[in-house]
Amino acid sequence: MKKVISSALVGTLSLGIAFGVSAGPVEDQAAFQKYYENKFPDTPTADFANGVYSILPTAREQWEAIEEFPPYEIAIEAGEAFYNKTFANGKSLADCFGPDGAVRNQYPKWDSDRGMVVTMELAINECLTANGEKPLKYKKGKITEVTAYMSFNSRGQEVDVKIPSDDPRALAAYENGKEHFYTKRGQLNFACADCHMLTAGNLYRADTTSPGFGHGTHWPVYRSKWQSMGTLHRRFGGCHKNIRANPYKAQGEEYRNLEYFVTYMSNGLTFNGPGARK
């Protein structure tokens, strides 16, 4: 029994040999991005926004072919109609997010009044409920259509998540997301970082894991496995189920903070959603 415990502890500790405690978000981000640039030297930095296709030439060819007739196109059209639909009170989503909803680069953001991270999906539902409309479900369906439209109109915007230095609660939310990313969970004992950092680019059965650098840029996505559109938080939940961990609530604090962290790590890349993934 002692031998097994030792194996578990030594294995866990050995993963951290080349790593150590970082100072703060800016230093974390620089080290994070450098890690991937060193791991995948053939990938131009800006290309990490294309996820696994930035490191897998054969899959990229297929993906580029799919992008010629993108499976998310219908969602964009439906999202545009919903975006411009007039509420019962005469207003619409355009009153909250402007005429074309090109606000992807404003989210996720820290709301200092409420002391919480606000994502684009959350902001959409808050706009709906503030105008007497029903909120949308957070993982799939209508929410992905609206965000597909808004993300499409936001393509090319730079990822520039801010962590205000004058509000320690923002740093705490970032740290919470960071802890989540690096913490092993589930019976399979995996952290986000295990698949998307330490072994990014490796095969897990028939699939190659994507680099964590670039996560958060391309949502929502049409995923072939789902045969439908889904949000980032839907994917978070799917990852957790894969490692036999109970998923958290979509748009709950845990996943909003995780989104805050992973998107901040991709600062400098460009938003390119909606996307198509395997």
Binding site: G20, V21, Q187, L198
Partner: protein, 101 residues
């Protein structure tokens, strides 16, 4: 790397101590496993899907009259709770070492 991860996963699944004595009814064992699971859920954000499955399977087996199978599943659920607790303890101390510098 993959062998290392497998070793850790296997280690965590196996190192849980046997927390039950042989006494008590099977229903009590299932209840104890459920209570332990709920207690852990309150204490930390770590829960495994397999624990819930084992508890549900134990209840189903008991209803079907399979006392021996139900008891085995209840013990399995309790072991999973203990393994989860150990994971939470280890991770609270080690996650920072994975942050690149």
């Amino acid at each position: 790397m993959r062998n290392g991860l497998k070793t850790i996963a296997l280690g965590l699944a196996l190192i849980a101590p046997v927390s039950f004595a042989g006494s008590g009814t099977t229903a009590e064992h299932i209840e104890a496993a459920t209570a332990a699971y709920k207690k852990l859920a309150k204490e930390s954000s770590y829960q495994w899907t397999t624990t819930v499955k084992a508890i549900k399977a134990a209840k189903k087996a008991l209803e079907a009259g399979d006392d021996k199978g139900a008891r085995k599943l209840a013990h399995q659920a309790m072991d999973l709770v203990e393994a989860t607790r150990l994971q939470a303890k280890i991770e609270s101390e080690t996650w920072r070492m994975r942050v690149p510098k």
